[in-house]
C-alpha cells in the first residue's frame, strides 16, 4: 500500500518534466498550466511569472534568459506550450 502511494509521489516529484504522463489528457489548457507550474517554480515563486503581462516575443525573451539561468531541461515542444499558456493567461497578444 505504502509503495503504491509512493510511486505517484516520486513520479510527481521527479517526473515533473514529463507532464503528458500525468496531465489530464482531455484538457490541453490544464496540461499547459501544469507544465508551467511544474517547471517554473523550481527556482522562484510562480508569481515572478504570473505578475507579468507580456506579448509572445517578450515571453520568448524571458524563456531565453531562463534557459541561460539553468532551465535546461525543456523540450522545444514543452517550451512552446508554456509560452502559449503564458501569452494566453499573462499576456496581451502575439
Amino acid at each position: 500500500m505504502k509503495r503504491v502511494f509512493f510511486l505517484p509521489l516520486v513520479a510527481m516529484t521527479l517526473g515533473v518534466f514529463a507532464a503528458p504522463a500525468f496531465a489530464d489528457t482531455d484538457d490541453e489548457i490544464q496540461a499547459k498550466k501544469q507544465l508551467f507550474e511544474q517547471n517554473c517554480a523550481a527556482c522562484h515563486s510562480l508569481t515572478v511569472a504570473t505578475n507579468q503581462n507580456l506579448n509572445r516575443a517578450d515571453w520568448n525573451w524571458v524563456l531565453d534568459d531562463m534557459e541561460d539561468y539553468g532551465l535546461t531541461w525543456l523540450t522545444d515542444e514543452q517550451r512552446e506550450q508554456i509560452v502559449d499558456y503564458l501569452v494566453a493567461n499573462h499576456g496581451y497578444g502575439e
Binding site: L7, L14, C43, S45, L46, N55, W61
Partner: protein, 455 residues
C-alpha cells in the same frame, strides 16, 4: 548537503521507485530529472528532497519548488500567507520586523516587496516599512545575525589590497545619514506596455537613516591608483539559478562622493538580514542595485564594470528614446544609474471619499537623484492648473527626500485626481506620460491619486 550524500539519496529513491514497479520510461524520466536537479546543489531542491525523506536541513520553500504549486502537501498550502512558500523569506521578514499591512509582497522567492504609497508617510522610513528587493537569496548567516568570518576586501586598481574586519570598520570615523535607496525598476507598473520585471508601482523606495564609513576613506586606506575608473561590488549572498554573482559598480567619482557609505547600521540597529547584514553599500540617488547588500568585496577597475547587472538589458537604458514595446539592439543600450526627479503622494490614500468643502491635507515626498528638489506642484484638474505645495525645508542631508504638504478642498461633487509633480534645481520635472524603455527603468511619471467627492 554534499553531492555524495545527495547521490546516495537519489540512488536509494531510484531503487524504491523501481521496486514499486516503475516502467523503464519512468526510470528514464527519473534519471533525467535527477541530473537536471544537480546544478542546484545544496541550495536547491535536491537538498529539500533529502529533508522531505528525513535526511536533514532544508526549507519548505525548496519543497514547493520540488513539487510545484498545487502538488504540495495541504499542510504547507496556506495561501493567506504570501510567504508561506519560502520559509527562509518568512524568517527574514520576521527578523526585520516587517509590517505586512504596510508592504505588498510581489514574490516570496526571491523576496520582493514594496511599501504602499499611503504607508510611506514617515520622513525617515522605519525598518518595518522599508521596501525589499532581492535578485538572489538571503544568506542564512544574515538571518541568524551571525557576523563571524565577515570581512571586506578592497582589491584591483589599488596600491595595497586590504581586508577590513567588522570591528575595524566600526572603529573608523562613521556618519549618520538619511539616504534614499530606490530600485531602478520602481514605477515599472506605470509603463504601457508593462515591461518584464517586478511590477513595482511607487513603493520600491525607502529613506532610512544609515550609519557607516564613507567608501572614500576605505578606498584611500588601500590607495587608489590613477588607473581606477570604476568599482565592482560583490556580496556573500547565495545565487539564484545558474548565474554569475550579481555585481554592479559605479564610476570612481560616485564611489568617492562623501555620501557613498559602507553602512553597518540601519535606523540605529544592526542591518536586518534582508537589507544586507552585517554590511552593505549605500550609493544614494542611484539605482538601488548599486547599493550592494551583504557586501564583502569591492574591486577597483580600469574600465567600466561588466558584472551581472551591467550588461545586456539589465539596469540599462536605450541611448535614444524608443517607441513603446520596441527593443533596440544591445549595443544601443548604456548603463543606468542616477535617478530622475520624482515624487510620491502619501496621503490621502487612493480612492478616498470626501465630503463637499471638506479640507484634505495632501502629503508626500520628493527626491531628485544627483540634484536638489526645488518645487512640488499639485493639480486637481488633470494638469490644467497647478498650485505650489509647501516644502518642509531643505533635506537633512543631500540625497534624503524632502517632505511636502498642501491643503485642498473640493467645492463640487465628482471624481477628481490629485497629481503631484516635482521640479529640480535644474528645471527638470516629471512627465505626465511615462516614456518607455525595454526593462522599465527610470519610471517617474506624475503620481495620481483618485478621490471622489460626495454631493
Amino acid at each position: 548537503m554534499t553531492s555524495k550524500k545527495e547521490g546516495q539519496f537519489f540512488d536509494r529513491l531510484r531503487g524504491v521507485t523501481e521496486d514499486a514497479g516503475a516502467t523503464p520510461e519512468t526510470l528514464q524520466i527519473f534519471d533525467e530529472a535527477v541530473s537536471r536537479r544537480r546544478f542546484m546543489g545544496n541550495m536547491g531542491v535536491g537538498g529539500a528532497a533529502l529533508t522531505l525523506f528525513g535526511f536533514g536541513a532544508g526549507t519548505d520553500a525548496a519543497m514547493r519548488g520540488l513539487f510545484g504549486r498545487g502538488l504540495i502537501p495541504a499542510a504547507w498550502a496556506d495561501e493567506s500567507d504570501a510567504l508561506a512558500e519560502d520559509a527562509q523569506s518568512r524568517a527574514a521578514w520576521q527578523q526585520a520586523g516587517k509590517d505586512s499591512d504596510a508592504l505588498l509582497v510581489h514574490n516570496a522567492r526571491p523576496l520582493n516587496a514594496e511599501t504602499h504609497a499611503h504607508a510611506m508617510a514617515d520622513e525617515i522610513t522605519p525598518n518595518s516599512k522599508h521596501f525589499v528587493r532581492n535578485n538572489d537569496l538571503i544568506p542564512q548567516k544574515a538571518i541568524d545575525q551571525d557576523p563571524s568570518g565577515w570581512s571586506l576586501t578592497i582589491d584591483g586598481e589599488v596600491h595595497n589590497e586590504i581586508e577590513i574586519t567588522l570591528d575595524e570598520l566600526k572603529s573608523m570615523d562613521s556618519k549618520d545619514l538619511v539616504l534614499s535607496i530606490e530600485c531602478g525598476g520602481n514605477g515599472r507598473a506605470n509603463f504601457d506596455p508593462q515591461p518584464r520585471g517586478n511590477p513595482w508601482d511607487r513603493g520600491a523606495i525607502g529613506n532610512a537613516k544609515w550609519t557607516g564609513v564613507p567608501l572614500k576613506d576605505i578606498l584611500e586606506r588601500a590607495g587608489v591608483k590613477d588607473s581606477a575608473v570604476y568599482t565592482a561590488h560583490y556580496g556573500y549572498e547565495p545565487i539564484l539559478g545558474d548565474r554569475a554573482p550579481f555585481s554592479r559598480g559605479v564610476p570612481m567619482e560616485k564611489a568617492m562622493e562623501e555620501h557613498t557609505i559602507v553602512a553597518f547600521a540601519m535606523n540605529g540597529e544592526d542591518i536586518p538580514a534582508t537589507h544586507g547584514f552585517p554590511v552593505r553599500l549605500v550609493v544614494p540617488g542611484w539605482y538601488g542595485s548599486c547599493s550592494h547588500k551583504w557586501l564583502n568585496k569591492i574591486t577597483l577597475r580600469d574600465q567600466e564594470h561588466d558584472g551581472r547587472g551591467m550588461t545586456g538589458y539589465s539596469y540599462r537604458m536605450p541611448k535614444y528614446p524608443v517607441a513603446p514595446g520596441e527593443r533596440p539592439p544591445e549595443e544601443d543600450m548604456k548603463v543606468g544609474g542616477p535617478w530622475l526627479i520624482k515624487s510620491v503622494i502619501t496621503g490621502p490614500k487612493k480612492d478616498t471619499g470626501l465630503e463637499r468643502g471638506e479640507t484634505v491635507k495632501v502629503t508626500g515626498h520628493a527626491w531628485a537623484g544627483e540634484d536638489e528638489v526645488a518645487e512640488v506642484w499639485i493639480s486637481t484638474d488633470f494638469g490644467l492648473n497647478w498650485e505650489k505645495a509647501d516644502l518642509k525645508g531643505p533635506p537633512v542631508n543631500k540625497y534624503a527626500w524632502v517632505h511636502f504638504e498642501k491643503e485642498l478642498s473640493f467645492p463640487n461633487r465628482g471624481y477628481y485626481e490629485i497629481w503631484a509633480r516635482a521640479v529640480d534645481d535644474k528645471g527638470n520635472t516629471q512627465p505626465m506620460v511615462q516614456p518607455w524603455n525595454p526593462r522599465g527603468y527610470d519610471g517617474n511619471v506624475v503620481h495620481r491619486i483618485p478621490v471622489t467627492v460626495a454631493a
